[in-house]
Amino acid sequence: MRRYIIKRGVLLIPVIMGVVTFVFLLIHLIPGDPVDMMLGETAQQADREMLRTRLGLNDPIHLQYYKFIKGIVRGDLGDSIHYNRPVLEIIIDRFPATLELTLGAIVIAILISIPVGIIAAARQYSIFDNSSMLLALLGISMPNFWLGPLLIIVFSIKLGWLPVSGMGGLTYLILPSVTLGTSMAAILSRMTRSSLLEVIRKDYITTARAKGLSELVIMVKHALTNALLPIVTIIGLQFGALLSGSIITEMIFSWPGIGRLTIQAIITRDYPLVQGCVLFIALCYVMVNLLTDLLYVFIDPRIRLSE
């Protein structure tokens, strides 16, 4: 087990290095002079020079790279031009909102998809199975920028049950989480169903039936625990989609999270902040995938007990 964990950890190093390098190059990959882009063509030469020095753009590129990495290691991502505050501080400010939103979305997705997947698998080809899987197909293909406004129109404007936008109590969380979680719920339902269908054909499920256990116990205790591996994998992979989805969702619902921050940073051409946000989102993704790998250890004794 220890070897497995170390291996996973070690494998992350090149991934993180790649992400960091990409984010560093971001500012140089954009065509044209970044300073021009930030200040506009009409800016004064003196202002340009000042910004150039502040961003360190006058240094040779390897030195810039070195400083960038040194900064990251020290937790210094530079200062935001727009807010005039350290980038890391702003991100830490905004992070809880995004965390709340994505966790809300995951919880909703799991709460819907696991039971749906179980029932659909237990009653394969039944009306429930067919209709839920059709709905799931719909859910996968429904874009956030369409679903979000639709939900706002129905539940906030027409019915007046839930607030239109902004962040506050639990009621504010419902619509954005549903918007964000729908496609994940749809994908997870299908995954849960197919993964369970594969497991219930296994011999040990027949053994469980031969023991006289009820179908519910068999499904949850014997089948689901074995089907969990692919389900967890999908949750981990879908997390990336969730992060990118949160950008749009946060815009729609004026949710004060990282997603909206990123868009604002792009609009205001606040490069250090863009870099910080992209880096942060990418690292979140990497971390979640590490976490799923570690979860395997708890789910599957064959991994846990391997050397």
């Binding site: 027949t206 053994t207 039936r209 031969a210 023991k211 625990t225 599957d300 004794p301 064959r302 050397e307």
Partner: protein, 668 residues
């Protein structure tokens, strides 16, 4: 009132159907039998005859809506199981009737400890507390003779060997002291020595608890060892039923007798085995008359028109056949009379000669994958095989016989040793020369399906070798050769454009044979080629291999764990244990006067018809891991004749005759 002499289980006209795309498959179509309390009934038949479906029907585990039980009654302890509610049925399952399955490897839940899996059923049916259940689970593991039960209980299935897993399955099945145990091919995937242990264990527990057993098997020899009553199934029905003593002397349904005749044995060495042509009828379209008619060698007019009903021909013996005086099996075919001579001559210069062959696999550990040891899969083996000769390599799984077979052909890397083929040193020839020699040395596998490319048609598969060896000029010529080959191995040449999945297991094995025949080899390694086949099909393949050998003067290295196949096909035999050959000799020498205690135990463990009161030697334990073989004689931890010296030094080779030798300190 329930009478005491009522059978425990009485199956009456059971019919189970499955809806398939081809129509309704009547998998079980009117079978009846009784099992008295505390007795064993064996349900025998070839694959696809409906044995397992019968078992699942009794448990009411047929998966609806694809399958359903159409009738009629399954009376268990006076009540009809088919009339019980689902809940009531669950109270019986795992409690009064329990079941064990063929594949211990996959029958246990991989993410639960074996303790949890035993306790689950105890808590469910016996209403015990967790602590009491734990105690009972340990006790059960003890009963099924798992060493260190208190430790083993918290292990996961993947940490146990196949034999151990089957013991756990038995522990689960017996933990509620059921009245009936259904065992569906419980030992088929196990080695003979482990099979003997498991059968013995089941018998012991049966005597202690008075459990009745429904044993489902295709192995008539196993039936001989354990059954009290026998029901032979064919095409969804019982076709013959009798008590054991009567069955093994007077079984007379043409299908049953043919099954007996198709069993390979030593005294049939010089003859072709009887086979049953054709295939089991499609369960969606049974013929109107006798279902065996198109394969029966005794069929007559009436058979095609009228369906034979089960009728008594003697008290306690019934058959479904129109023949008035169906000839019974001759006891001679059922008993192994050891009289024929095995071919024992090493030809002056053998075709294949292997000296001191070693195949070690490095064991790597740690992040840097440094080598910390070696698995000595093959550890210094000498063999030689003459032209036209068959050498059988036998031993339990994990002894290295498959590695050996591949090593000889240089399909895997060899650590050291020399291999001469036709006097050419194939260890030291160039790659291109080796490739040219390959045509003379072929291999055939156990799983023909796995070794045939599913996306290639038969003609492509067979002609592959022709192309690589430049035989046959164009496609048309090659197709003609392929057709001829198919004809030779008994495949319809009209099927030349079919894909492997369209063939049955036996037919696929024939494709495998045609494939190697295409390149006219001199030497073929046959790796468990008949293990996955039914006996009647096995007989066909063995006949074919033998005929071809005589015609083409082929040499075989025949790798198998089935000793009766060995006695039929091989001239010489080598017994392998943990990477070394412990005994070798002619078939007669090794089977009549086995020298090594391991050989003796293997022979004793193989179930055998007609050998009542044979002294059983039960081997304890299983083959140890080849990573760390025991010091000295590798067999000493299991050897019944172990002496102090055995634990120190590996014994040398001792000759018992010119051709017979063994490696055991007893003969020093």
């Amino acid at each position: 009132m329930k009478m005491n002499n009522d059978p425990l289980l009485s199956v009456k006209d059971l019919r189970t159907c499955f809806r398939t795309t081809n129509g309704l498959a009547r998998a079980v179509d009117g079978i009846s039998f009784d099992i008295p309390a505390g007795k064993t009934l064996a349900l025998v038949g070839e694959s696809g005859c409906g044995k397992s479906v019968t078992a699942l029907s009794i448990m009411r585990l047929i998966q609806e809506p694809a399958g359903y039980i159409a009738g009629d009654r399954i009376i268990f302890q006076g009540q009809d199981l088919l009339k019980l509610s689902k809940r009531k049925m669950r109270e019986i399952r795992g409690n009064r009737i329990s079941m064990i399955f063929q594949e211990p490897m996959t029958s246990l839940n991989p993410v639960m400890t074996i303790g949890e899996q035993i306790m689950e059923v105890i808590q469910l049916h016996r209403g015990l507390s967790k602590k009491e259940a734990l105690g009972l689970a340990v006790e059960m593991l003890n009963q099924v003779k798992i060493p260190d039960p208190a430790i083993r209980i918290s292990e996961y299935p993947h940490q146990l060997s196949g034999g151990m897993k089957q013991r756990v399955m038995i522990a689960i099945a017996l933990s509620c002291e059921p009245d009936l145990l259904i065992a569906d091919e419980p030992t088929t995937s196990l080695d003979v020595t482990v099979q003997a242990q498991i059968l013995m264990l089941m018998k012991e527990l049966q005597q202690k608890e008075g459990t009745a057993i429904l044993l489902i098997t295709h192995d008539i020899a196993v039936v001989y060892e354990v059954a009290d009553y026998i029901t032979v199934m064919y095409a969804g029905r019982a076709i013959e039923q009798a008590k054991r003593s009567r069955f093994f002397r007077h079984a007379c349904h043409p299908y049953t007798t043919r099954l007996f005749e198709s069993l390979p044995s030593m005294d049939k060495r010089n003859e072709q085995l009887s086979t049953i042509p054709g295939r089991v009828p499609d369960p969606t379209r049974y013929p109107e008359g006798c279902r065996f008619a198109d394969r029966c060698h005794l069929a007559f007019d009436r058979c095609n028109k009228e369906d034979p009903k089960m009728r008594f021909i003697e008290k306690g013996h019934s058959i479904a056949c129109h023949l008035e005086n169906a000839p019974a099996i001759s006891t001679a075919t059922a008993t192994i009379t050891r009289k024929t001579e095995g071919r024992a001559t090493y030809t002056s210069s053998p075709l294949v000669s292997v000296k001191d062959l070693k195949i070690y696999y490095p064991i790597r550990k740690g992040l840097l994958k440094s080598i910390v040891g070696h698995v000595k899969a093959v550890d210094g083996i000498d063999i030689s095989i003459g032209q036209g000769e068959t050498l059988a390599l036998v031993g339990e799984s994990g002894c290295g016989k498959t590695t050996m077979g591949r090593g000889i052909l240089r399909l895997i890397d060899i650590t050291c040793g020399t291999i001469h083929f036709n006097n050419i040193d194939i260890m030291h020839i160039s790659g291109s020369k080796l490739r040219r020699l390959r045509k003379d040395m072929q291999i055939m596998f156990q799983d023909p399906y796995g070794s045939l490319n599913p996306r290639m048609m038969v003609n492509q598969i067979i002609s592959e070798g022709l192309i690589s060896q430049g035989i046959g000029g164009n496609k048309k010529e090659r197709d003609n050769i392929v057709k001829e080959l198919m004809d030779q191995v008994g495949l319809d040449p009209g099927m030349i454009h079919r894909y492997p999945h369209e063939f049955s297991g036996g037919q696929r094995q024939r494709i495998g044979i045609a494939r190697f025949l295409a390149v006219k080899p001199k030497f073929v390694v046959c790796d468990e080629v008949t293990s996955a086949l039914d006996v009647s099909v096995q007989a066909q393949i063995l006949n074919l291999l033998k005929t071809l050998q005589q015609r083409e003067d082929l040499s075989y290295l025949f790798i198998t764990h089935n000793l009766s196949v060995v006695t039929y096909i091989a001239d010489l035999v080598a017994v392998m244990y943990l990477g070394k050959i412990v005994e070798r000799g002619t078939i007669r020498e090794v089977f009549d006067t086995p020298g090594h205690p391991y050989t003796q135990a293997l022979l004793a463990a193989s179930p055998c018809i007609g050998e009542d009161g044979r002294k059983k030697i039960f081997l304890e334990g299983e083959v140890p891991s080849p990573v760390n073989p025991p010091e000295g004689c590798h067999f000493h931890p299991r050897c019944p004749k172990v002496m102090p010296g055995c634990r120190k030094v590996y014994p040398g080779q001792y000759s018992l005759s010119e051709t017979h030798s063994t490696r055991c300190w007893l003969y020093e």
